[in-house]
Symmetry: C2
Subunit: 347 residues, 2 copies
């Protein structure tokens, strides 16, 4: 039996996200019925039981681990760190002890990053745990994955140049494993393509990235390159990544909203719009990255996937499958190799 055939065990924070516990429980249920992934649902037993009571029986691989409290969406992460009885703390404990191999949470992002970094430990050489996020791009000829990755998406609000190199290594390893691109291209998000563009941070980061042989550094990329999928991995400080990502979240709504205004101007367009209504809805879903499944927390000893706070059960189902895939394909091993490669390059 190869290791690939062994069922994966994923801990799910049943109380995290806007639609918890409903969405995480239904997602776990769907996964347990349709795959051999084992799901450990961590949260308030009564609330979870209430949702499960309304549905049919789960598949064999579903188990509930009781945790009496939950971390609120806007709770201060440092306060959340003190509590050992929250659904997230319990899910992290399951991963730390090896009960589970990966974790999914749609809850408080800051708390997830801080607690995961504290409880699971960072890979050797990682100075900063980073938040990656996938977003849809225009189709790329060399990369079959319709999604590209941006790192850091908001975990690190102030960065030093060497952190951006680390983000590049973490992102490259993720793209290699999850998007299955052999040598993912990396771009530094900046105000212009020339090496001397940007502030002191971006100029020095550019110099370090260019000097790093283990990365396929494609140079600076501008904002317009991001949606066009000019590179597989976009690297930037967390404030920039957070703003870019949230902006991409609502541009579909902008374009389709403007479209409604435009399309009513002519009878043929109004008819076309009626015929295309289902296609426009489908397009809207393609643009809606809440449904993609999740953003990896990178640099940890274990696989941790952050699902969007507004995740539906379908999105959480994808997130659980993504976590299982990252475990199966040894994301952590690939990440260790990428980090070792950039450490070798350093003086």
């Amino acid at each position: 039996m190869t290791t690939g055939a062994r069922p994966r065990r994923i801990a799910v924070d049943a109380m995290g996200g806007d639609h918890a516990p409903e969405a995480p429980v239904l997602a776990a249920l769907a996964v347990s019925r349709s795959t051999d992934i084992e799901v450990l649902l961590c949260g308030d037993e009564a609330s979870i039981g209430e949702v499960l009571g309304r549905t049919g029986p789960p598949g064999g691989g579903l188990r509930v681990i009781h945790a009496p409290t939950r971390i609120a969406a806007e709770e201060d992460p440092r306060r959340a760190l003190e509590r050992r009885d929250s659904s997230l703390a319990r899910a992290l404990q399951a991963v730390a002890t090896g009960e589970a191999e990966g974790l999914v949470s749609a809850g408080n992002t800051g708390a997830l990053v801080l607690l995961a970094a504290t409880r699971l430990g960072r890979l050797p050489g990682v100075a900063r745990v980073a938040l990656g996020a996938v977003y849809p791009t225009r189709p790329r000829p060399h990369n079959p994955d319709p999604f590209a990755l941006i790192v850091d998406a908001g975990a690190n609000l102030s960065c030093r140049p060497e952190h951006l190199v680390e983000f590049a290594a973490l992102g490259s390893a993720y793209a290699r494993v999850v998007s299955r691109v052999d040598r993912p291209t990396v771009g530094l998000l900046n105000v212009g393509e020339e090496p001397e563009k940007g502030d002191a941070l971006l100029r020095e980061a550019h110099r370090l990235l260019r000097a790093e042989p283990s990365l396929a550094f494609a140079g600076n990329v501008e904002g317009r390159h991001v949606p066009l999928g000019a590179v597989d991995v976009v690297v930037c400080p967390g404030i920039l990544g957070n703003v870019v990502l949230k902006l991409l979240e609502s541009v579909g709504e902008l374009v389709l909203g403007l479209g409604e205004e435009v399309f009513r101007q002519r009878p043929a367009w109004r008819l076309g719009q009626r015929l295309l209504a289902g296609g426009l809805r489908r397009l809207s879903r393609v643009m809606d990255y809440r449904s993609y499944g999740g953003a990896p927390v990178l640099g940890l000893e274990r696989v941790v996937i952050k699902a969007h706070g507004r995740s539906s059960s379908h999105a959480l189902e994808n997130a659980i499958k993504l976590a299982a895939k990252a475990v199966r394909d040894d994301l952590i091993g690939a990440t260790s190799c990428a980090l070792a490669a950039i450490r070798r390059g350093q003086p």
Copy 2:
């Protein structure tokens, strides 16, 4: 005779932009034929004459001012500053001496901002000249203008908190005059809506903005609020503004590109797409902010409009009209008042 009826005089950099001198010359020609705006075309006489020779006669208000050299698109602004014989330097001279009342250039942005700040002078109390930029938003009930403003769009790569307050005052004055909104709302672009979000710069800027009674500060806005037009003026450091703006430039292409993939999936959708082809092209143009006319350089003693480097003659025509409108409606007076108001609020 009211001052509003006096013809406006706008200096145009005939050699700036990807399509110069063709686009600026054709734009000046169109304006001179269809309005009473007087245009001073600054650039190489022979090149301008060559374009004019191919067209019919200009209207009465067109004049050519010879300038033998041009500033290249990627030329170092500090080097460009040394030359007095460039088309931009000559156009700025016309504005500085009062020959013209406003200026339009589609050339090198860095050079435009540096030369304009040096040659035209800043308004009292302005520490940093800022680049504003307009972008299309979802329709806003209280604001008839389909465009919102973002400041700074890339002139200031590192900022202090008080600069962001200044950008808010500059942007509010512009929105009041150009969008004709009585009390434009201002949002600080950040990673979350709570006052304590962001790094030290954004937290302190939030505190200062909230304490400023002359501004309609609506608090922090996230990336997703930008395309939705949550506020009339988005305030941010230049790197963030530059990335956001360039990203918005290409999202239309992304959405319509993904649409093409989606719409071919069903026969009814394919038919709908054919009927809607013209509407989709129109939508694409609405999303393309290159055609809007231009971005104001704010904080100067004179009206200066930066047109997109890729501006068509139509976009430059809009930019010239925008400059004339800003002169007529006394943007500079409104800006002085807004700056005086925030100075009064300071200890």
